[in-house]
Structure formats: structure tokens, C-alpha cells
Amino acid sequence: MIIKQLSIFLEDKTGSLARVTGILAQHGINMSAFCVADATDYGILRMVVARPELASDILRNHNYSVHINDVVCLKLKDVSGSLNKALKVLSDNDICIDYMYAYASTDGVAISVMHSNDNNRMIEVLQNNKMELMPASEML
């Protein structure tokens, strides 16, 4: 249930995000979810894509600094209170979330990309509480 996330170091300048998305578009790679964490003069683009190793190779060939790490994708009903329920389960089990980002699709499902201090335990806790996780095979 581990999903591979790509992190890319980007300088804070006009067009730098567009360059990355341009390269991905050129190679037909779809970003399932992404977010930009920004500091004063740079940012980190984090994203979940269907073929992370391929995307990483392509970006490295374009001289980007790319890091791959593990995240967990939680499937939630796109209704009020569903995220809260999941978060409560995690906090009750003393799991601290480092960062997360989410997207909602049109079919009433919201996906939340999460990274915690202990991803494996997070998976275990969520599954024990009947929460649905997204397997890597479902990434498109």
C-alpha cells in the first residue's frame, strides 16, 4: 500500500513549474496529485505519478534534483467529516502526520496523500479501522 512520491527541488522563478510539467506532458506522464511546498527562494514540488521511476529518470536527465520516497494514499468518501474521522484514528494511535495533500475526483472519492513518522504503522492502523487505501497498481 506504499505509493512512491517524487520530490523535485525548484528555484523560485517564473516558469520553473511549467518547465517540469512541460517535460512530463511531453512524455505522457500524468500527475495524479501534487503540491508545492515553498520557502523563500525555492520550493519542493511533491507529486504522485503513475510511473515514478520513469518520471524520475526523465527529470534527472533534464538535470533536476529528484528524490523518491514512500507515502500513503488514503481513499475517502468526498463528504463532510470523512477526513476528520481518519485523522482522529491516526491521532488516537499517536501517529504524527508530517505533511499531506489531497484531491477530490468527480466520482465522489477524495484521495489524501500522507506522510507520517511511521508509514507502515499508519497503514496498519488505517486498515485495522476499515479505511480504504489506494494500491500502487491503481495509480493512473
Binding site: A39, R46, N63, S65, H67
Partner: protein
């Protein structure tokens, strides 16, 4: 073969002084009678060239500066008629008129000789294939090394600068065992070799690097990546070009060919000669050069001299690493800063590459220093706070090494300019 000219390179220092004194006495008369600039200078100071008989009198004689070369552009300092000049070189002249350097046949012979000695010091023999990746042309680097390689009897590949793909191609196809180029270009080549995964296809063993100052850390970095030994060669076109001084296998200072070039270290402010071991401006007197002999030429390079006999057996004085040029030295908030110091800090930080640009500015009457450095290809984190920690770590290291604070900015990999010639790493906006 360990030495090219053992009789000179391991000469007894008393014998050397005699040789130098004889040559100086002759040289002083030569410039007095053939170069109006020196005649005027001597006459103004009331110096009679016939009185100069010993090398210890050198400090009584006037200096020659870069400005004197420019003022006498193009051939005003030549001591021979044009008919005896067989080669002309010129500096790039980025800061004014170019400076011209002429050579007679004997000068070229002497130059090849000192380069041959130098290459031998670095262990290069007639069994080597040497790629000369210095610029061929007006710049003395390419042709200067070239004739020395031929004199040693090694096979020379006159590839000149740039075209990294071709450099690597020939390095693999011809099996180059040695290369001569600037250290920053060698670092760039090393990176390309790593990136292309062709390290096992090259036979490189030795590199002769010069034309810009480099740090011990950069040397280590290059040596480790390529598994070679990299040696410093020193020279400047005004004096002759590459081959004025060279490191031996001990890699502990560069031996100056003192039978041709007499070094002094002076206080750049007062012009006083400093004792061995002290940092100051390097000054050269060319004893044997015919076309354009120079008396006490101020190089503006800052270093030390070491008179102790070297473990390699050579008695020739050694100059230390160039700590900077007296005009490259940045004075930031009253502190002397050399770009090479920043380089040595960055070499120890594995999350970055040694590619950097220093920007100095003045805001509200206070000097500011910004160091922009490239992040390494292999990104190691996904957390902003870890990048902030890295910036803090670099800033602290800069603070403790340079004694001033700096703003650290990170750049994406391969975005700062790579040099195929001399690196431009300092932008000083205060001069505007």
C-alpha cells in the same frame, strides 16, 4: 626518469645564487641599453646598471607593473628588434588594452625546456599520450604546454578547449594518459565522465592543471572521482606562460625554475620584500628572456615561498597555493575574502556541488555577500526544514572559515555556468 635537468633542479643553492647573480648583472645591462622605459627608470632613480653584480641587490631595483605593460603597448618593452621576435602572444585584455608578449627563438627554446622539466616533475614521459585542453592561440596555455609535451617526447593531442564530447571521445579512443587544462574544466570533465558512466573506458593517470587558482579540496575531489593525480602548473604570459613553476610528485608546493625566473614575495602595500614563509605578492624577474625581459614584475598573485629542500630532491624554491590575486581579493566588511576559501567550504558539503557564484553588494552602507550554490543531482530530502538546515550549515561553515556572514541561496543542478576556460565566480555590484 625523475628529473629533466638534475644539475639545475637539484642545484646547490650557493651555486644557484652565483648563476642568478651572473645572469642578473647581464640582464640589467641588456634592458638598460635596449629598453628606453628601463633606461628612464634607472636614470630617474640614479641606478647605474654596471653596479648590479649580485642577486641580493635585486631589492634595490624598481618594479614593473601591468600598467607599465599597457602604457608601452604593443612593443615598447621589447629588448630586441622585431626581426628576432618569432612569436607574439597577447592577453585577453578584458580590463583594458591587451598585454603583448614576444618571444625570440631562444625564448621559445627556454620555454619548452621549463615545460619539459615541469611535465617530468608530474611523472609524464615519452610513453604518455597527452591531451592539451588549454586554449590554443593568443593565450599562452595551449602552445606553451604543447611544445613542452613534444620536447618530453610524449604524444600530444592538440585538442584545445571546449567540445567536451569530443574530449571524452578522443580520451577513450586514443587512450590519453595525461591531460592539461584548467582545474575547473577538469572538474567539469570528471563530472561528465561520471555522468556518462565511462570511467572504466578511460586511461587517464595524470593531469597538469593551471591558469586559475584552485583549492586542495578541489584537487582531492578530482583525484578521487577520476582516480588520477592532478598537479599544479603555474605561469603567466608576461613572464613566459605555463611552466614558471610546477608541482612535483610530493604535491607540496610548486618548484620555481629559478635559473630563469627569480621570485620575491613583497608586501603589496609597501613593496618591501618579505621573509620566506610570509604571505605576500609574488614578483618575478626574468633572467634569461630575450624579447621582453621583465624586472621585478608584480604578478598580483598572493602566496608564500618555501626554501626548504623538497623530499623529491629538488632544491628549487617552492611557491604555495595561490591564495588569490591581490585584485581578486574581495574586501567584505573589512575582511579579506578569497573565492577559493568559499570553494573549500563547499567541497565538504556533499549535498551541493562545488559550483558557486558569489555576489557582493552594498545595502544601506553595509556590504552583503550572497553565495549561490548548486544542489547535488541526487536530492536527498522532501522536507523544507532539511533544506533550511543545509543552508544554515553552509552559512555557519562560511562564517567560521571566512569570518563573515553570508546569505546562502540554492540553485537547481547544472544551472550555474560551467567554465570551459577560466571560471567567473564573483559578481561585485559595489563597483557600479
Amino acid at each position: 626518469m625523475k628529473y629533466w635537468r638534475q644539475d639545475i633542479e637539484c642545484i646547490d643553492r650557493e651555486e644557484l645564487v652565483k648563476l642568478q647573480s651572473r645572469r642578473l648583472s647581464e640582464m640589467v645591462k641588456r634592458i638598460y641599453h635596449n629598453v628606453p622605459f628601463y633606461k628612464n627608470l634607472f636614470d630617474q632613480k640614479g641606478i647605474n646598471p654596471n653596479d648590479i653584480k649580485d642577486i641580493s641587490q635585486l631589492n634595490e631595483l624598481p618594479f614593473t607593473t601591468k600598467k607599465d605593460l599597457r602604457d608601452n603597448y604593443p612593443f615598447g618593452l621589447f629588448a630586441v628588434p622585431q626581426s628576432e621576435v618569432v612569436r607574439l602572444h597577447a592577453s585577453s585584455g578584458t580590463t583594458g588594452k591587451p598585454t603583448v608578449v614576444g618571444c625570440t627563438k631562444n625564448d621559445l627554446e627556454m620555454w619548452s625546456e621549463v615545460v619539459a622539466r615541469s611535465l617530468t616533475m608530474a611523472g609524464i614521459t615519452n610513453r604518455d599520450i597527452m591531451q592539451v585542453a588549454y586554449g590554443y592561440g593568443l593565450f599562452t596555455g595551449g602552445l606553451g604546454i604543447h611544445y613542452g609535451v613534444e620536447k618530453v617526447g610524449a604524444s600530444v593531442i592538440p585538442i584545445s578547449t571546449g567540445n567536451t564530447k569530443k574530449q571524452l571521445q578522443l580520451m577513450m579512443d586514443f587512450g590519453s594518459t595525461a591531460i592539461a587544462c584548467t582545474p575547473s574544466y577538469l572538474a567539469y570533465l570528471a563530472e561528465s565522465i561520471e555522468e556518462n558512466g565511462v570511467k572504466d573506458k578511460i586511461k587517464l593517470k595524470r593531469a597538469v592543471c593551471g591558469a586559475e587558482p584552485w583549492s586542495e579540496e578541489l584537487r582531492r575531489h578530482i583525484q578521487e572521482i577520476l582516480g588520477i593525480k592532478a598537479f599544479n602548473i603555474y605561469g603567466l604570459s608576461e613572464v613566459i606562460g605555463p611552466g614558471v613553476a610546477m608541482e612535483c610528485e610530493c604535491q607540496n608546493g610548486s618548484h620555481i625554475h629559478e635559473d630563469h625566473f627569480v621570485p620575491e614575495i613583497i608586501n603589496p602595500e609597501t613593496g618591501d620584500v618579505l621573509p620566506y614563509g610570509e604571505v605576500g605578492e609574488l614578483v618575478f624577474t626574468t633572467l634569461t628572456k630575450e624579447a621582453m625581459p621583465l624586472l621585478r614584475y608584480r604578478t598580483r598573485d598572493l602566496c608564500t615561498l618555501n626554501i626548504e629542500k623538497c623530499e623529491c630532491g629538488r632544491t628549487l624554491v617552492r611557491m604555495g597555493t595561490i591564495l588569490g590575486r591581490s585584485d581578486d581579493m574581495l574586501i567584505i566588511r573589512g575582511v579579506n575574502v578569497f573565492p577559493s576559501q568559499v570553494e573549500s567550504v563547499l567541497m565538504d558539503i556533499y549535498e551541493t556541488t562545488p559550483n558557486y557564484v558569489l555576489t557582493v553588494d552594498r545595502k544601506n552602507n553595509l556590504d552583503t555577500l550572497e553565495i549561490k550554490v548548486e544542489i547535488a543531482d541526487k536530492f536527498w530530502t522532501t522536507e523544507i526544514r532539511e533544506i533550511e538546515n543545509l543552508k544554515k550549515r553552509i552559512a555557519q561553515s562560511v562564517q567560521s572559515t571566512l569570518g563573515i556572514s553570508a546569505v546562502i541561496k540554492l540553485a537547481e543542478p547544472h544551472t550555474l555556468s560551467r567554465s570551459e576556460g577560466k571560471a567567473v565566480r564573483v559578481i561585485d555590484n559595489r563597483k557600479k
